[in-house]
Symmetry: C2
Subunit: 433 residues, 2 copies
């Protein structure tokens, strides 16, 4: 007669079924993608698209399936997925090396960000009709085409044995800078979403000051307090306390970022950024990299990418084909010119500059994090029925991210496979040059 089945059991069982479906599906697609030489995140995102289609088709017949589409679990997992993805991105980066990184990489990153940002903003400003969220949407499109990521590209560079040549290192460093710029742009985007308009000079100056305060606080803590904290923790039960401390710092930095008008993901990122081997010691660093990396790649990440995919409506491909093609061209050319041209001007040979422009074209986790945050903030939902481009904006941007990410390694292989010009600036001379 009792409570059990009705009250708590059923809800939690449904959660079990949902988690199991998501876990099995995403890992199967993710592994499939990895075996095809693609980032597993793309496979996991596609798993979400497939799942959404399956729910639409069979949701009424299969028990539990229908509830998956609007499960509170998805929002929750998406948020925690973002937290861990960004924390892990921070842990994997080495701020020391970045500070010592080449001027070329910095300039390439800047060019590779501002050119597509301007082009994407311009495109959206003209194409998207006037509506309440017009400013924010135009800015979002600019941000969406301006963020690079490297995982797929690195694999190609390694295959060709050019990862440690000058242009290979430029691609990697510039993409890292780009992720950080992307997170800063997100701070600005949050401001635009809050006010609904592009900030004026005064507001912008205030925002810059707030950003500076945030970084001053977190960098100081990162450089001076992290090592001491770790030394104290080392005396006791290590991994669990390190993990608690890392999560606690991420939460606290997230709250600080929000208090200063930025988005909490920047806090999570900074918590990870200064968690690095020389600062916290080898065992703690590798333990946390394993633990956070395993939670991220083995559970929260795949589910996050699946939620991204589940929200995609592939109808966008047929509903707004022209916009989508133009968006892809802007995304590709913006990176190709914005990152490739400065590289060429700074003295890299044409073929390598082209490789940089193409290699920077891949999008990644930070890109999808920004889209997801904009989605949850209602930037797409609030505009139903105004115009097909607005209705399909989210799906178009995700398709753009996936297509450019899949295309970048393919195109990069082509460029690297062409015979190279004899070039004195190369550090290693090709054996069959």
């Amino acid at each position: 007669m009792l409570l059990w089945a009705a009250a708590e059991g059923f809800r939690f069982l449904e959660l079990f079924v949902h988690l199991l479906i998501l876990l099995v599906l995403t890992r199967a697609f993710g592994e499939g993608a990895a075996r095809l030489g693609q980032p597993s995140a793309v496979g996991e995102l596609v798993a979400g698209v497939v799942l959404a289609a399956a729910i639409a088709q069979f949701g009424a017949d299969v028990p539990f399936l229908a509830g998956l589409a609007d499960s509170a679990l998805l929002d929750f997992v998406a948020d925690f997925g973002i937290f861990f993805l960004v924390l892990m991105a921070g842990i994997e980066m080495r701020p020391q090396e970045m500070a010592e990184s080449s001027k070329t990489a910095f300039v390439v990153a800047l060019g590779g960000m501002f050119v597509p940002l301007a082009a994407g903003f311009g495109l959206a400003w003209v194409w998207i009709p006037e509506n309440d969220l017009h400013h924010a949407q135009a800015f979002l499109v600019g941000v969406a085409v301006s963020i690079s990521a490297i995982p797929a590209t690195v694999k190609v560079l390694m295959d060709f044995g050019v990862l440690h040549q000058r242009f290979g290192r430029v691609i990697v460093s510039a993409a890292v800078f780009d992720d950080i710029f992307g997170l800063m742009l997100l701070a600005l985007l949050t401001g635009v979403m809050q006010t609904g308009v592009i900030p004026d000079a005064g507001t912008l100056a205030l925002l810059v000051i707030k950003v500076a305060v945030f970084f001053a606080i977190t960098v100081t803590l990162g450089v001076h307090v992290y090592p001491r904290l770790s030394r104290r923790i080392k005396e006791t039960q290590m991994a669990a306390l390190e993990f608690s401390a890392l999560l606690g710092v991420g939460l606290a930095y997230g709250l600080l970022a929000e208090a200063l008008g930025m988005h909490w993901v920047i806090g999570a990122f900074m918590a990870g950024l200064y968690y690095e081997r020389p600062r916290v010691g080898e065992p703690a660093y590798s333990d946390m990299k394993l633990v956070v990396g395993t939670i991220t790649s083995g559970f929260l990440g795949p589910l996050f990418f699946a939620t991204i995919g589940m929200r995609v409506d592939l109808g966008a491909v047929t509903a707004v084909p022209v916009f989508l093609v133009v968006l892809l061209v802007v995304a590709f050319l913006g990176k190709f010119i914005g990152a490739g041209l400065p590289a060429w001007i700074l003295g890299l040979p044409r073929r390598e500059a082209a490789a940089i422009g193409i290699g920077m074209g891949a999008r990644g986790a930070v890109e999808l994090v920004v889209l997801s945050i904009a989605y949850e903030a209602g930037l797409f939902a609030a505009s139903d029925g105004i115009h097909p481009v607005v209705d399909n904006l989210y799906s178009s941007l995700v398709v753009m991210a996936v297509v450019t990410t899949l295309a970048a390694p393919l195109l990069l292989r082509r460029v690297l496979a062409t015979p190279r010009e004899a070039d004195p600036s190369d550090e290693t001379s090709p054996p069959s040059g």
Copy 2:
């Protein structure tokens, strides 16, 4: 003007604040307890009691604090905390060694379970007035006093260098058996909660068959499929896939257990139980132990113990003092006689049999998991105002668990510190005997 603050941001920020408060408070109290030589779970539980008191006192004044008391986060975290605590308990146990363990340990575990089970059941049956949930409540009290755990006791045994003497090994093995018996009793308790009455012989036989089917399936899969699964996974990206697989198996076993009328925690436990070093290989085992252990001890465990504490009303101590004292006496004597007497009959010297009876008195995670499940199933809430003992039953049982857990190591130290009788059955002869 926009969405951000209102829609998603605020809810998630509140979650951040709640998580940060819980994390900082539980880890501080947990570390404090550990430095006093107590299990950190006790400290984390006390942190919950303190937090609940703080909310009652200052909840109206401090922003976000009031929402923490009935945050959906707590239920969610409690459920996932249980999943990971039980999964980790399974990972840490070695079924191979248990199968080879001594007959003495098995008999001690059986006696140490059935005597307090009967005594607790009898006490509650007589003391708790007739109400809808009378059967289930009496059975729960029996189960609650019958579950042992060892972490606190092991530390004492190690301090005295007797962990590997016969009675030391008996305590450890018997407590492990006891945890497993406790989970089986939970299967029965779930049945009682669903039907509201103690099952008759036919229902009981059916339940036993279902339990047998469950164990037949999961043990077969554990012995034969786990090693193959791990061998395949080893070829690819290891830790993340192992983690996904382990979670997936836990979820699937949990659903199987529920389908067979048991509770899902038994599924999570069995998923961990056959995840052991010789079966899955050294690197995978130690990676998963680190990852699951870190999530459990560094995040979900402390929050779970805090939620247990937050639900405690210390008013129980003054509201039903006589019941509480009798409950403590039953819990202590039940274990002392139930586990100590068989040990003495099986030939252990009196002092060591006493040490066994006392050492088995500590309660632990499985005990609190059972109480939490009963709480969420409404076993305590559905009886408001019937009788003070019913109203204070949950708090009394938690207080009993904490007091016996704190008392066991103290009493054990006393017994071990008394000069021992000369005894030929001892494996190692005391140097100053």
